[in-house]
Amino acid sequence: MTVDTQLVEHMMNPKNYGTLEASDTQGIGKNPENGEKVVVYMRIGEEEESPYVADIRFQAIGCATTVVAGSMLTEEAKGLNFKGIAHLIEATMQLLERVPEEDAACSEMVALAIQAAIDTYMKRKEEPDYPVITYKVARSCVPKEQGES
């Protein structure tokens, strides 16, 4: 990972880190390979019948890259309606195609946690007790020289 001032700023002061006491929904992104995970908490607002992310927090069991990705993506997600969130996730996934796999897995985990939170919210509209959705990453976080071929 190339370390620049913006990255250091996110590491020193991750945005939206922690939990939301009265969250409307949660979602989990998980890496089954190494047990790393990201939990996203959201408060959803309704504007002209279009729900949007009124507030968002995240917590992570993972490396500094995951925390940086969580800080950046949750900051982007704040205030977006669900269509905007779908665009953000799609754009993130496309961007990750050009990133080394072990770094991409961390950002993918955050994007999936955001997606899971939105999907949990939608499911709970019909079934209020629906459990928190967990999505698993497709990419490997293990650096190539350590991974199995």
Binding site: V8, M11, I61
Partner: protein, 280 residues
């Protein structure tokens, strides 16, 4: 109420520790020593919470520490101590309340008389005093300090939680040694971060990391993590070694310390497995 007291004490412990890392005068040692005292208060309050059978966690608020001068932070710490002191009035364990109040009075008096100083711990220059690092070494050191400062804080909380909930003297001795070792590492890495201008409060530790369900898996994975940490130290020693024999020696020393942690965790695993096979 006790839970809030515990959370607020957790926050002021960390703030005092960070103040110690920021200081570059003779106040440094006093601030770090005070933070050690506040950590002990935190553990005593935790004991009270456990005795009262109240559910609790190590969740806390984010702590804003970015200041230009240390005096601003010291003033904030005094306010926090004042607020805790007010809450101590309703603590049932009067002996503990009086012990904490007495410590607070002395600390506040000392903090008020500390000389103000400029803070360079957040300038993000990522330059190590008297050592010239190339880009690769600087990036490697930056990432290492962020990862490991958090990791040591996480380990302190995990072992502290395990110790608070265990009555096994053998295991508790091991937990305490590992807490002490992690404190040493946290203090070293925190001060290095401050020198590099990248000091940060470690992030909040997720509950499932310290509420351990399977002790054997936890210890086995912990041993693997220590082995991985050794590798990181070796890589870092290599990355910085060509530019600084002093930093190389330091990371070799940290690497060697991990051997001791691994040995302790093997002891803990053996003891735990023996004890639990006997009770089956």
């Amino acid at each position: 109420m006790m839970k809030t007291l515990m959370i607020k004490t957790h926050e002021v412990w960390l703030e005092m520790l960070m103040a110690g890392f920021m200081s570059h005068t003779e106040s440094k040692q006093a601030l770090i020593d005070f933070s050690d005292i506040l950590f002990r208060h935190f553990t005593w309050l935790e004991e009270e919470v456990i005795k009262a059978k109240e559910p609790y966690s190590y969740d806390r608020d984010m702590i804003a520490i970015r200041v230009d001068t240390l005096g601003v932070l010291l003033q904030d710490i005094i306010h926090r101590l004042d607020a805790i002191e007010l809450q101590l009035l309703s603590l049932k364990n009067r002996a503990l309340a009086q012990r904490m109040e007495s410590d607070f009075h002395y600390m506040k008096e000392q903090l008020r008389h500390m000389e103000d100083e400029r803070v360079f711990a957040f300038n993000m220059k990522r330059e190590y005093p008297k050592i010239v690092l190339n880009d690769e070494a600087r990036d490697a050191l930056t990432l290492f300090l962020f990862e490991e400062t958090y990791k040591e804080y996480e380990l302190i909380l995990i072992y502290n939680y395990l110790k608070a909930h265990s009555s096994d003297g053998y295991m508790n001795r091991i937990y305490q040694v590992l807490i002490d070792e992690s404190f040493f590492h946290l203090k070293q890495f925190g001060q290095m971060s401050a020198k590099m201008g990248i000091l940060a409060v470690p992030r909040i530790v997720m509950r499932e990391l310290y509420e351990i369900e399977d002790m054997v898996t936890f210890l086995k994975e912990g041993i693997d993590e220590e082995l991985a940490a050794k590798e990181e130290c070796i890589k870092l020693a290599e990355a910085v070694g060509t530019q600084s024999p002093e930093l190389k020696r330091f990371f070799d020393f940290i690497n060697a310390q991990e051997n001791y942690h691994i040995a302790l965790m093997h002891d803990a695993l053996k003891h735990y497995e023996e004890k639990h096979s006997e009770s089956k």
